[in-house]
Symmetry: C2
DNA sequence: AATAATTTTTAGATTAGTCTAAAAATATAT
DNA sequence: ATATATTTTTAGACTAATCTAAAAATTATT
């Protein structure tokens, strides 16, 4: 049996592992799940013993195939619940994360199968992130940061990098929801801010915003 | 903060407390949550320290007002989730208990408020048990055991005592669902079995069954 | 390449929850 | 009312997960 705590470590290793580097550092995990490095060392040994992680002292951690399967399954559950919360229970996209963090640990295969069907087999969560299928396959769409879009391009908002309530509330306030479309009309070289035309209104977005918003071309 | 384990003890004390006696025994709790009496003693002291239970050595336990509030809130969550599982996710009534046991511990006031609305403010769960309202009020309907119904009475099935999968499957097999109506046509004095007429079919039910099925008169 | 700074690990303690086995209290039976 | 049986509590040990502080290894700096 796998404990809730083990699941959270596996999830952290998974997410940190995707961000580039081959192996994940003890400190990075500690930061991610708000614990101490010494606790991470202990847990990582345990995960290694149980066959969920590769671990050599001082060399960082990575997930085994078994570990990755578990991680992807948690991600699938998390994102399906997020869709449920937004589509069925009228949560806004900045309120769903902490509830989904709890719901993702509920153990019942049937629950997820049925939830998936009930939601109409969604492919993306409310932040635009892909939902792994039951076999763990994740199809990635080609999305690009607003900061990299050329002037004149028509874009559709498909996702975010940062999912903090602060950022999501900013987007809401400016009517930038998933699926919203806009055109990039000017890129300021001095501070990398970008002027977009959304719903006939011009909006200047900072480079910080532009680096946290994904779009696809339409 | 209240832990998951504490919640489960409080729930057990609540359910055992309703079954008659003024105070609940250590052994009864141990049996109910499948643990040892010594563990119960420890936890019950803790609940008492935290103000959720009244406890005097060797005298049994009962819930304080605060403890009862927590218990009823868990029951409310449990039963709302059961409705969700049956109505929205097509679970059968013998499959829902163990999943609801997990879901009842999710912490989010908004989640339950919205779920309640989404389900159309149901008053009873799929086993016929009443769902406490947000303030903890439970309205009881006057239901009676089939074993106590007089011959000739027309009945509507409104609930069960035993909620084990075995019993619920037996009911399903014989088309006895919540809301099903039937007439008691004969009561055998020898073994207390009861013959009922359901959907033009005669069915003999044992006294065990008759003591676990609630009906109301129609 | 030697030293300094940083990261990671170990050692030992702590907390929540559990257990076994023995002691204490209560309930039952003669 | 005394002995017996049952229930409940205590004492002490164990596991999972955490922490602090110190030691060891790695990385960075000069």
């Amino acid at each position: 049996m796998i404990t809730l705590t083990e699941e959270n470590y596996i999830k952290a290793i998974y997410h940190l592992g995707k961000q580039g580097t081959k192996t994940v550092s003890t400190n990075a995990i500690a930061r991610n799940i708000e614990t101490k490095a010494s606790s991470v060392t202990d847990m990582v040994k345990k995960l290694s013993d149980k066959g969920y992680a590769h671990y050599k002292k001082y060399q960082g951690v990575s997930l085994t195939a078994a570990g990755k399967t578990i991680a992807i399954n948690i991600v699938r559950k998390h994102r399906l619940w997020e869709v449920f919360l937004v589509e069925k229970l009228n949560f806004s996209w900045d309120e769903i994360h902490e509830v989904a963090e709890q719901l993702e640990h509920i153990k019942s295969k049937k629950l997820i199968t049925q939830l998936d069907a009930f939601l109409g087999y969604p492919t993306h969560d409310p932040h635009g992130d892909p939902i792994p299928d039951p076999d763990g396959n994740i199809k990635k769409i080609d999305k690009v940061l607003v900061s990299e879009v050329e002037v004149g391009k028509l874009c559709i908002c498909v996702g975010v990098v940062d999912t903090s309530p602060e950022f999501l509330k900013y987007l809401d306030k400016n009517n930038i929801a998933l699926g919203a479309s806009f055109k990039v009309i000017y890129k300021e070289v001095f501070d990398n801010s970008i002027t977009i035309l959304i719903n006939t209104r011009e909006l200047i977005i900072s480079s910080t915003i532009a680096n946290n918003l994904f779009v696809k071309y339409s």
